[in-house]
């Protein structure tokens, strides 16, 4: 449980600081951190470079909001059919990709193609998704708290606590997963897929599992993002979204539990800390990415190898 413990002190941040900017940056860090953790499962642990998590992220937000408004379900109940939908979609895409034994570059390109197809559908299905204009999210999730009963999650502090708690849960979940026999099989596939197959691991099934879990978690991050920002638009499914998560994982350190969160913090936080115009911010983002890859191939967490998960 070591990694999740490291997150607990973060609950104290609102006590120490009331800076809206800091809390907002941290909220985005936690949400995108979940997305990065999701991608880390399929890439850092199972070694499959897929590019579908951006699409899952966006669909998660769209589907939850649409289910919520069309059927009048409460937020948390609306997540259930959404997760079901993402599950089916990932199984379908994953089945096609892995059944045909696509690897590395080809896997990346085909998943990217599916991701783009999804984005085009969302972009052009005007009657449901409102096209390029996107959807305004007017609902907020509710939570039950002992003492106060059911409350709406509204305002920076409430969102801070909700996203941090979500991040902790996802961290624990991913840690349990990768430290179990499932995680060992992921590692075997990453290190040598042919050998893993020879040893009797059903590589197809485990790759599919990694892909699906990753997408479901990515969709969860997408829901948080959509409901926090109150706005869902097709660009949230874009390639950039997928690439951002990849950048976070590589910068933070792939194959480590909290590396992706560190990466998410740096990539969302740094460009805001330094006062830059939008163009320079994008350039700084690119430069950080390049430097991270060339100077720290194992990511920031890799520099402190003591914390590194060995598998």
């Amino acid at each position: 449980m070591s990694a999740a413990w490291l997150l607990l002190p973060l609950y104290l941040v609102p006590v120490v600081s009331h800076s809206e900017v800091l809390l907002t940056i941290l909220i985005f860090t936690y949400i995108l951190g979940i997305l990065a953790i999701a991608f880390n499962i399929v890439f850092g642990y199972a070694g499959q470079l897929t590019m579908f998590h951006g699409a899952a992220f966006g669909i998660g937000a769209y589907a939850t909001y649409l289910i919520l408004t069309k059927f009048g379900l409460p937020f948390w109940l609306a997540l259930v059919p959404m997760f079901g939908g993402i599950l089916v979609l990932s199984l379908l895409v994953g089945w096609i990709c892995f059944k045909f034994r696509l690897r590395e570059f080809y896997l990346a390109v085909v998943t990217l193609a599916f991701s783009e197809l999804t984005r085009l559908v969302v972009l052009n299905w005007n009657s449901v998704t409102n096209g390029t204009l996107g959807l305004l999210v007017l609902d907020k999730p509710t939570v039950w708290l002992p003492g106060t009963g059911i409350v709406k999650v509204d305002g920076t502090l409430a969102w801070y606590l909700l996203t941090l708690t979500s991040l902790c849960l996802v961290t624990v979940l991913s840690q349990v997963l990768v430290r179990s026999w499932v995680g060992r099989n992921f590692a075997a596939i990453r290190l040598n897929e042919d050998l893993a197959q020879t040893l009797g691991i059903n590589t197809f099934r485990y790759k599919l599992l990694a892909f699906t879990v990753s997408n479901v978690l990515a969709a969860f991050a997408g829901v948080l993002f959509g409901f926090y920002t109150n706005y869902i638009e097709p660009s949230q499914l874009s390639i950039t979204q997928s690439l951002d998560a990849i950048a976070m994982v590589l910068l933070g350190g792939m194959g480590s539990i909290l590396g992706p969160v560190v990466g998410a913090f740096l990539l969302t936080g740094l460009p805001h800390v330094i006062e830059f115009s939008a163009e320079l911010r994008a350039a700084a983002y690119g430069a950080i990415l390049i430097l991270a890859i060339l100077v720290m191939p194992r990511g920031i967490v890799g520099l402190f190898s003591r914390w590194r998960h060995v598998s």
């Binding site: 696509l102 080809y106 599916f114 950048a247 983002y285 390049i290 191939p297």
Partner: protein, 286 residues
């Protein structure tokens, strides 16, 4: 209707050669340096803006501008190779990510220099040719001819010259090529620069046809990668054919199916090809 289809078909071929020249760069870079340079689209943008700058601002004749633009793109390619890509040889994932970082950097640079307002170059070659019922602009035909010639010459050079043989040998077996006296480091730099220069040339010619935006590269690199895969990565003549197939699929497809899904036809086609012929249309089956 036939005229419309034929017109769209020709348009598709011309746009397809633009995809093809990027695809050629993708294929060459992948074969020799082992990475896919996703920033090639941005080198195309550099070429396009350079051509526009030299023609409309410094008032040089267009052909001179094209040559200068190719040089600028090549120089940018050389710098990027020395500064970045020489450290990511044969490391697909790192190369991919470094090129993605480079995309942001180059695009921001273009935004700072030329703003996001689309630039339209003055017509360099106006007018059009009419054959039967089909009218096609002269500039498009010239673009097509030049690109075709460049791709053809590249192919010939690879087939017939010592350097071309060395390149192919290296793609097949790097160690053996090294032992035969191929200066592999030089070759890698050369191919890397050449790919960027090709992309720059595509951009310079694009500038004579359409309006320019700093974000134009993203679309073209995707199409270029698609075309390269369609043909089978490593197949040079195939890169052109793959580009043309893609261009034609899109333009004919958007006649019969909703235009909004224009970019989707190529993708569906690509997925189908990869699933049923994993080594591409013209690749040899294992």
């Amino acid at each position: 209707m036939t005229q419309v289809i034929l017109g769209q078909f020709l348009n598709g071929i011309i746009v397809g050669t633009l995809y093809g020249i990027i695809a050629l760069g993708v294929t060459l870079t992948f074969g020799i340096t082992g990475i896919v340079n996703f920033a090639l689209g941005q080198f195309m943008m550099i070429g396009a803006y350079a051509a526009w700058h030299f023609t409309d601002i410094t008032h040089l004749p267009y052909p001179v501008s094209v040559v200068l633009a190719v040089l600028v793109a090549g120089l940018a390619g050389f710098l990027s190779d020395r500064a970045l890509f020489q450290f990511t040889r044969n490391n697909l994932v790192n190369g991919l990510l470094v090129s993605i970082g480079l995309i942001s950097v180059i695009e921001s640079g273009a935004l700072l220099l030329y703003t996001a307002t689309p630039k339209n170059m003055d017509f360099v070659l106006s007018g059009s040719w009419t054959v039967g019922a089909i009218t096609i602009s002269r500039m498009k035909v010239v673009t097509f001819g030049v690109l075709l010639a460049v791709i053809g010459l590249t192919w010939l050079a690879l087939a017939n010259t010592w350097l071309g043989r060395a390149t192919r040998a290296y793609a097949q077996n790097p160690e053996a090529a090294m032992l035969m006296g191929v200066r592999t480091e030089m070759l890698q730099v050369g191919v890397s620069v050449y790919s960027c220069a090709l992309a720059g040339m595509g951009g310079a010619l694009y500038a004579g046809l359409y309006s320019l935006e700093p974000s134009m590269g993203a679309l073209f690199i995707l199409k270029g990668v698609e075309a390269a895969i369609l043909a089978g990565v490593g197949n040079l003549a195939g890169a052109l054919v793959g580009g043309i197939i893609l261009g034609v699929t899109e333009s004919i497809g958007s006649l019969f199916l909703p235009t909004a899904f224009r970019d989707a036809y190529g993708l569906v086609f690509l997925v189908a090809i990869l699933l049923f012929r994993p080594s591409g249309l013209f690749g040899s089956q294992k």
